[in-house]
């Protein structure tokens, strides 16, 4: 586990990451501000390839900002982001983004199939129409998330979890190596949460790297290979058992932690 501090003059040399491979995502001194307030401060992160990584932290800690900074949606003050060893600006097609549910117009006249097909738009030149290959890729992605039977439905006519899966299909057929997901488990029921998790794990088996903004400490340990604990800066990054320590958590969550340690339990399980 890397215990990160704001002053880290000696960074781990390249190649020190797992299996001596280049990390899928590497950030150095990544800093982003909204107005005068820094939202992210000096984040140094090496995310190994093929891992399922959870980003955790209290509200307003900069979880979404980190994802947006990786995607290049927000301007960074200083620092750099490398994707598979390349500067992020040159690696646009290698990352796909699954937005938070609230950022889309659900009444838009568009079918599930068309949403998935949108994942291919980035690779079709402007003068050409989507071809058979593109449609097949979209269908394959829909099958991967088990949404193939809903192809002709309007996107808003699905349940929250189904919508989430369609957006994952769209990201999958972008052909990216890295998937960034912003709160995919927000507002879905337990069954759907399992279904989404299965898709994430299957994507990881295919060699994808997945970075997931998550808010539930109770499930984090069983969901992710690595956890990045964030509160403005990177507080800790490592295996769940190393990061989910009481001491670290109370440092990050402060008063909000009480809820986690004293979960209301009226049914003591055998």
């Amino acid at each position: 586990m890397v215990r990160s501090s704001s002053f880290s003059p000696s960074l781990p040399p390249a190649g020190a990451a797992m299996d001596n491979l280049l990390p899928a995502i590497r950030t150095r001194h990544l800093t982003v501000s909204y107005g005068l307030r820094p939202a992210l401060l000096d984040v140094n992160l090496d995310i190994p390839k093929g891992t399922l990584v959870g980003i955790l932290g209290p509200n307003g800690a900069g979880k979404s900002t980190l994802i947006k900074a990786l995607m290049g949606f927000v301007k960074k003050d200083v620092g750099r982001v490398e994707i598979m060893g390349e500067p992020a600006e040159k690696a646009k097609g290698r990352m796909a983004y699954v937005p938070q549910r609230s950022s889309v117009d659900w009444d838009f006249p568009i079918t599930v199939e068309e949403v998935a097909l949108m994942g291919r738009y980035g690779r079709i030149p402007w003068y050409r129409n989507p071809g058979k290959k593109d449609r097949e890729a979209a269908l394959k992605a829909l099958r991967a998330v088990r949404m193939e039977d809903f192809g002709q439905r309007q996107i808003g006519a699905l349940s929250g979890g189904q919508q989430q899966r369609v957006f994952m299909a769209r990201a999958l057929c972008q052909g990216a190596d890295i998937l960034l997901l912003d709160e995919p488990f927000a507002g879905v029921d337990a069954v759907t949460e399992k279904a989404i998790l299965t898709v994430l794990k299957e994507a990881r088996e295919q060699g994808l790297t997945l970075v997931v903004v998550h808010h539930d400490l109770a499930t984090a340990a069983s969901y992710f290979d690595r956890i990045a604990l964030i509160k403005r800066g990177l507080v800790a990054f490592g295996r769940p058992e190393d990061v989910l320590q009481k001491e670290l958590l109370s440092e990050v969550y402060g008063g909000q932690m009480q809820n986690f340690f004293t979960l209301p339990s009226i049914n003591p399980k055998p």
């Binding site: 949606f73 949108m118 980035g122 003591p268």
Partner: protein, 511 residues
């Protein structure tokens, strides 16, 4: 040539001016319909309105400059160019105001377009000796007086805008649906927003000549909104919107001719009626469909209340008339009974409704839910008189896990506060269902399936277990083992012991 042709046709078509108006209306309708789809999806309707009003300043400026510099009266290209510039400036100002201050975009639009419209009005009246623009004409439009130039311009704009939208359909679609994603895959959202704004300005400029400043926004958005109610695909929406717009323009013109009223007004009126009709009868998003769906919907409370009512009279059953009070109106009752019968929960003879075994199980679950809620409410200190009423509402919340937890919290009570028995969960009597020994009732025998560490000395798996009694407070489970030995379990131990129901010897005691 057109005039010769017109002479041969019957009715209003015999007038050249009418044919010209028809051509212009069809061209403008076509382009308005298609562009309008993107306008309403990007929520730019108000912006369209703003552009149409702001134009007048540009028209006046173009008129004035050509008149003063070159002495040309009513120079059409200059006025048109001026209108476009005014539109672009207005959009720019709106963007500027809403991005540098806390003023939101809709307010910025309101401020800027009235301001620039006012500037136009002042200019026209200030230079009234030089500018011969009829403000009324500008505001109301006159489709029956279109010139050849207007038609050519409409054709040009129509061709250009349609080409742009068809060519970049995917880009417009993606940046309207999910701007963030569009940006992520390299679609320059700003560029396409600007392009769309330009298209809207062009369309509005030609539309104003026909229906005037006030109605042009309706021409832009009403057909698109009509189509929006009918389809779930953007490409089909555009085709439908174009058809609605053309239909409205043509029918409106005939209406105007027949009744001798203003063309613009007739067209807009027809478009609005068309929209209202579709709003009523649209198959998926229409008002009528929603209403029918609503009255067809039978709340789960009603079917559940029917089941509960039947359980009280089980196994005699009830006449449908006796259930009216439970289910409300007779129509609803009929539908609710039909649904229950279809689901196999009840059987119906001519005048008698009875529970099926499946329905009985469901009804028992509901009774269990009701009585557990009653116990919980009593436990939580709710007034005894209100308990039944509140539990009646709460019994419809019967998620199995929730009931399990409540039951456990209450210490697995066997009777409710009124002394009635709380039925056991019917599922426990099914083969292969494993559950905690704490759920057994006195007189029942079960087979032990899993034994916790601390009971290993006395109990083994597959050993029968007979529950003789629960003490009065319900805190102890008195069991009898096959050896005849008595074993007292407390709540935690009874919870931890996993058993399966032994149906054969359920009611008999060990000898």
């Amino acid at each position: 040539m057109l005039a010769d042709l017109a002479g041969l046709l019957p009715g209003p078509l015999s007038h050249l001016f009418f044919i010209k108006a028809l051509m212009a209306a069809i061209l403008v309708g076509l382009v308005c319909g298609v562009t309008g789809c993107l306008v309403i999806l990007r929520k730019m309707s108000f912006l369209g309105d703003a552009i149409s009003h702001a134009m007048i300043a540009g028209v006046a400026a173009g008129y004035l400059i050509m008149k003063l510099l070159f002495g040309m009266e009513a120079h059409a290209p200059a006025m048109l160019f001026g209108a476009l510039i005014a539109a672009v400036i207005t959009v720019g100002l709106i963007h500027f105001v809403s991005s540098v201050s806390r003023i939101k975009e809709d307010t910025a639009i309101g401020i800027m377009y009235t301001g620039i419209f006012a500037l136009g009005v002042v200019m026209v009246s200030l230079f009234r000796e030089h500018i011969h623009i009829d403000l009324m004409h500008f505001i109301m439009g006159d489709v029956l007086a279109v010139s050849d130039g207007d038609i050519l311009l409409a054709a040009f704009v129509c061709g250009m805008v349609l080409t742009l939208i068809l060519l970049f359909f995917r880009h417009f679609q993606a940046s309207a649906f999910d701007p963030v994603m569009a940006a992520a895959i390299g679609i320059p959202a700003g560029l396409f927003h600007g392009l769309l704004t330009l298209c809207v300005s062009l369309v509005v400029v030609v539309g104003v000549g026909m229906v005037g400043v006030i109605l042009v926004v309706g021409l832009l958005i009403t057909p698109a909104a009509t189509a929006y109610l009918l389809t779930n695909r953007l490409d089909r929406m555009m085709i439908l919107a174009a058809l609605f717009a053309i239909n409205g323009a043509v029918c409106g013109l005939f209406l105007a001719y027949a009744m001798d009223v203003a063309g613009g007004g007739a067209i807009m009126l027809f478009l609005t009626l068309q929209f209202t009709a579709v709003l009523m009868i649209a198959p998926e998003h229409g008002i009528l469909t929603r209403y029918i769906r609503k009255i067809r919907h039978i709340p789960a409370e009603i079917t559940e209340d029917i089941l509960a009512g039947l359980l009280r009279k089980d196994p005699m059953g009830l006449s449908p008339a006796a259930l009216i009070e439970t289910a409300g109106t007779g129509v609803r009752l009929g539908r609710a009974l039909a649904r229950l019968e279809k689901e196999g929960q009840i059987t119906r003879q001519t005048d008698l409704v009875r529970l099926s075994p499946k329905g009985r199980e469901k009804a028992l679950t509901l009774r269990r839910s009701h009585r557990i809620w009653e116990s919980y409410l009593a436990h939580a200190g709710v007034d005894e008189e209100k308990i039944h009423e509140k539990a009646h509402e709460l019994e419809h919340i019967h998620d199995p896990d929730l009931l399990k937890n409540l039951d456990d919290l209450l210490g697995h009570p066997m009777t409710d506060p009124h002394g009635s028995e709380i039925p056991q969960d019917p599922c426990l009597h099914k083969k292969g269902v494993l559950f905690s020994a704490s759920l057994l009732r006195p007189g029942q025998q079960a087979i032990i399936r899993r034994v916790p560490e601390f009971l290993r000395e006395k109990l083994k798996e597959n050993m029968p277990l007979f529950l003789k009694a629960r003490d009065r407070a319900g805190e102890q489970w008195e069991c009898i083992l096959p050896s005849g030995e008595r074993l007292i379990l407390d709540h935690a131990a009874a919870d931890a012991l996993v058993v399966e129901m032994d149906e054969k010897s359920c009611q008999t005691e060990f000898s």
